[in-house]
Symmetry: D2
Subunit: 360 residues, 4 copies
């Protein structure tokens, strides 16, 4: 099976680097183009990128010449880690030009025909790609977004509870530094300190969660009718967003039933067999002091959501903590898994996932 | 004016050290006895204490010989930083022996005749000392507690809102390390990490807040009829507990009215003139990313509560963040201020606060 | 090939846990017994150990019953993560009883017949096992130690320079928290702070480095005649000891020659093919701000030493920085690799490493 | 006594803020002008400055309008916290225009006629101001620099040892984040990490220390003939640079003599009576794990240097650790104290320090 070439927009930034790290040795996709700022253009990736992850950039990418944002792109598949302003028009242009664009940018997330795709939660939203193509006259192109990184652990944990009726949701996050990009938060703001505010994230949590858990009626997403109150704070943790969640349900399941729901929950085939998918996307931790960002963020190679501390909430009924790796499951890893799902569903023209590959 | 001699129980621990630091050069009180474990007894304080605050122990205390817990105590006034188990019987014995005991321990906080005193919030609860003396047959002795350190910023911020009717309260704390004592939390648990659980504190927040905001009817405290849901987490911050608070009120005041309430709020005389009292106990910070533990914990020499981010909560109506220094206002500083209030009200036998001193 | 059963002494501590993590899925060895304190004895490992590494204990070990230190041990191979006092006599007893004991404890390191083995540096010191067996009347038993975790990056980096003549060595370390065990250093000592002292380590660096780089004459180790001055400090880093090294050589090689020496350096066969060995044990990093503990400690699955910043020292001639993962290469990983070397050299009775296994 | 008006160049940056904080309620000087970037010009200081120190900007400065760098300045006294490039010509222009400029910038430090003034170390270097005025034709103007913040604890600690003959000096620093300004080091580089390199500082330590300890012959500074080897590293500490120092002396004093030298050491009058001066500029700490940045940086209101761990060095003879607050004694505080010394010596035209003020 020949690997599909992929381009990374915003390749030198924090999420761009995570894309490159996660795509190293990916069974289906191969990074063939890296796109950066005008300042980076022309340099090799190793020269242009101040690599902030562990070790060094993968050898296969280190030598690629960085392209500028308006240079032509050859790869059918594009992963976007662009800043919001740059993403807004460029992603649509590239989809219009026939590319499948899987974006981590917030710019186009709330367009009515752009799915906020999270395979284990709302795989059926992929149908918006058909709407997109019909309405915009695109043939091979598509634009698929993933959600804000703090929304991710929330909707992952709530999905199995949807059947009980989600009524009200109170969220207080403790978010990692990598969510702010690089250089992001100054160290002088974060040693011996926390910051009780993360620009823009509270609104995203209140809006995106309702879209992601919404119902696709064949034309549009009917957002979930749920009241959400979010508070977002920044803590001195490198990776891993933890959210303290209180939730009110229509029904009153036993705590043990909810734990069972989480432990046994799996999306339909082929999702658990996608290369980036963990077999079970959720784990419930018994220890009363878990999940912890450093110890649990890498579960399932950063793609699992860890839940703990389920107990009664005197106000809303239930409360618990949920945690995901914010630049893996919450950003690059989710985009890649979205592309994997698109590939298996035939949305990437000319690219066929071999049956054998799909099953392994 | 001659200073009143004071003894510190648990003098070598984290809160004990804070007592000693705050009492250095106190205008009314002077540390005359330090009580530690049997292992420390007989050594000088400088030898016995592994001093964890800045600089070194004050010279006036460094040379005192540490007494054992069951040694006789001469000082009329006692500050207790004992661990819970040690506090339970010893504090009552000492009060029974005629000492005024101001305790930071949780052991006896919920006894019906022990006030959970916070001068700006419930100075009238001091009347429980009369109940105590009558019921227990004490003459000069008394036992006064201060609350859990995380409860402190909550009740401080809520006190001016009491007039609007407090109905439901949802709390998520981000607590500093010094709240766990010394050595307390291992550094290997706290670098690049948070812990979503603090043993015992959630229950204390739910119980103590209702007692502190309750009504003293002359005999007992009628606890406030308010539903409280608390989640407590530990973050890598040295001092300063921040609490994310959502609150439901009977009335619907404008946000600006609430800010005004906080800014202008003062307790009745003589409380704002007590040596440890800030003139205004609350400050509201306009900057959207405040309060922050490191930058705001020392406001008013650690005795002010800083509030910020007041905004609408889609679920409970109002939400905001409040912060206090947990070992000053939340522990030793509050105990000392409680003793100051007791002194001005004539509860410390044979000790008269000079009018001049009181006014300065 | 049947795996050799191994026992872990001090299995619930910080280094004990690292042994268990690194031996999970080891191709030759399998953890069959875990030995802890009397308090842990009888519980399952999962119950007894407060697991401080990421995720949870490996399933294969979680269910093992913890034995007490004086319970009989069946495994031919023993890894010791005992505290110094406990190690002193127990390790010798177990070697006397016929076990091959690979120890990370400092207790017996400087015994004249105990090798301080680091395969890439002094594989020939393994001959001390023959001396040991002859002098002590042991047949199958042996006691092999690995060095202090801070000495490790120093001797690894100096080994290729030995040919130039090592004369004087000035060391200033910046050591990670895991080197102090768990709970080890209190978080209140390490947030916004460093500690300019690590008990015992300066002396170990001055003594152990000279033994490790010494010459085995068939009977004893002739320690290297080199003057060493060490300063050890503790920094708020989880894993990875960095040492700032200045060195005086007899000869005056060019800086580029030294870099070449490091980059090409390999121990003799079969060492580079041992399961835990990196192909090249040293890497020289060009970036002027490397090595960094967090970004470089996991190189070669924690078994490589990273070096950077080689430049002239106006006093001693050369200076540079070297870094190793202190609980992998500097502790458990080194012990395991020592056992692998012993196995290939026939020192573990009844255990034959299949040629095929050895070559892979 | 009327206070002298002072202007702060680079007032909104990290060191500029420290100037403003330290000059609040200064007995002799008063901040009257704040100069920032063109982007800040016209705004009030409170609007323009992202205040990073504790609490908020002093009220007296918060309302001042920020001036642009080329706006005319009225204050006779100027404190410069400019970046290097901006400082290079502007500081000389302002001195030429008659201002006394006390600069923390590195730009002009090594000009032969600019003193690197540190009152307790080289007060006599102030004579260079006469050379300056004569050679450059300045009448009231002057340019005085203070050294790099890491050099400061080194020369402070070495000054009393000068009498033993300083021969060779080996330095390894562990430097705080505030030394890199704001935003400075990214938090993603500093959590669970250290950086073994600080741009430019090693060279400054090797050069500036020799100038500061040099001899002023009435015309130029004869730099000290001492070999210096420096390694500079960055650690996750907010304030306080610690330097591990090994030193070779001509003579061989007893360790106890050196400790005595440090403890009793005082500069000549009026230096110990300057408003910013500690009575004794050095303290030797007995505890083996001191000095520590967080616990000792504020000694003497940040103006003392703390020393500890004096012991024999097998290579150079003596080794110890020294620590100063890098933005107080190492930057703004030193500049202010330099200005105080200039004032007492009559170098600030038209400003007379009242004798009474000087003595208090």
């Amino acid at each position: 099976m020949r690997k599909l070439g992929a381009a990374i927009l915003g390749a030198t930034g924090a999420v761009g680097q995570r894309f490159i790290q996660l795509l190293d040795n990916h069974p289906w996709f191969r990074v063939r183009e890296v796109i950066g700022s005008h300042r980076s253009a022309g340099k090799t990736y190793a020269e242009a990128a101040h690599w902030i992850l562990n070790d060094n950039p993968p050898a296969a990418v280190a030598g690629l010449a960085v392209k500028a944002l308006d240079d032509p792109i050859n790869s059918p598949l594009i992963f976007s880690a662009l800043p919001k302003e740059a993403a807004m028009t460029r992603e649509l242009e590239l989809a219009d030009a026939g590319h499948v664009v899987c974006s981590n940018a917030s710019a186009n997330r709330m367009l009515p025909d752009v799915p906020l795709l999270l395979p284990e939660v709302n795989a059926e939203h992929i149908g918006l790609v058909d709407v997109q193509r019909r309405q915009r006259g695109w043939t091979s192109g598509a634009l698929i977004a993933n959600s804000n990184c703090t929304v991710m652990p929330v909707v992952m944990a709530l999905k199995p509870l949807l059947k009980y009726g989600l009524r009200r949701l109170h969220l207080v996050s403790e978010q990692a530094l990598s969510g702010a990009g690089y250089p992001g938060v100054a160290s002088m703001d974060m040693i011996d300190n926390i910051i009780p505010f993360v620009p823009g994230d509270e609104q995203k949590m209140e809006i995106e969660s309702r879209k992601m858990l919404g119902y696709f009626d064949g034309e549009v997403i009917q957002t979930l009718d749920m009241v959400v109150s979010a508070t977002c704070t920044r803590v001195p943790v490198l990776d891993g967003h933890l959210v303290n969640i209180s939730v009110e349900l229509d029904e009153g399941p036993a705590l043990s039933s909810i734990v069972d729901d989480w432990r046994t929950w799996q999306a339909a085939d082929p999702i658990p067999r996608l290369p980036s998918a963990p077999e079970y996307p959720l784990q419930y931790l018994e220890h009363i002091d878990r999940p912890q960002p450093r110890r649990d963020r890498d579960a399932g190679r950063g793609m699992m959501t860890s839940i703990g501390r389920l107990r009664a909430c005197p106000i809303l009924g239930y409360k618990f903590a949920a945690l995901s790796h914010n630049t893996v499951r919450g950003a690059a890893g989710c985009s890649i898994m979205n592309a994997e799902l698109l590939a298996t569903q035939g949305y990437i023209e000319g690219f066929q996932v071999a049956e054998a590959a799909r099953v392994t």
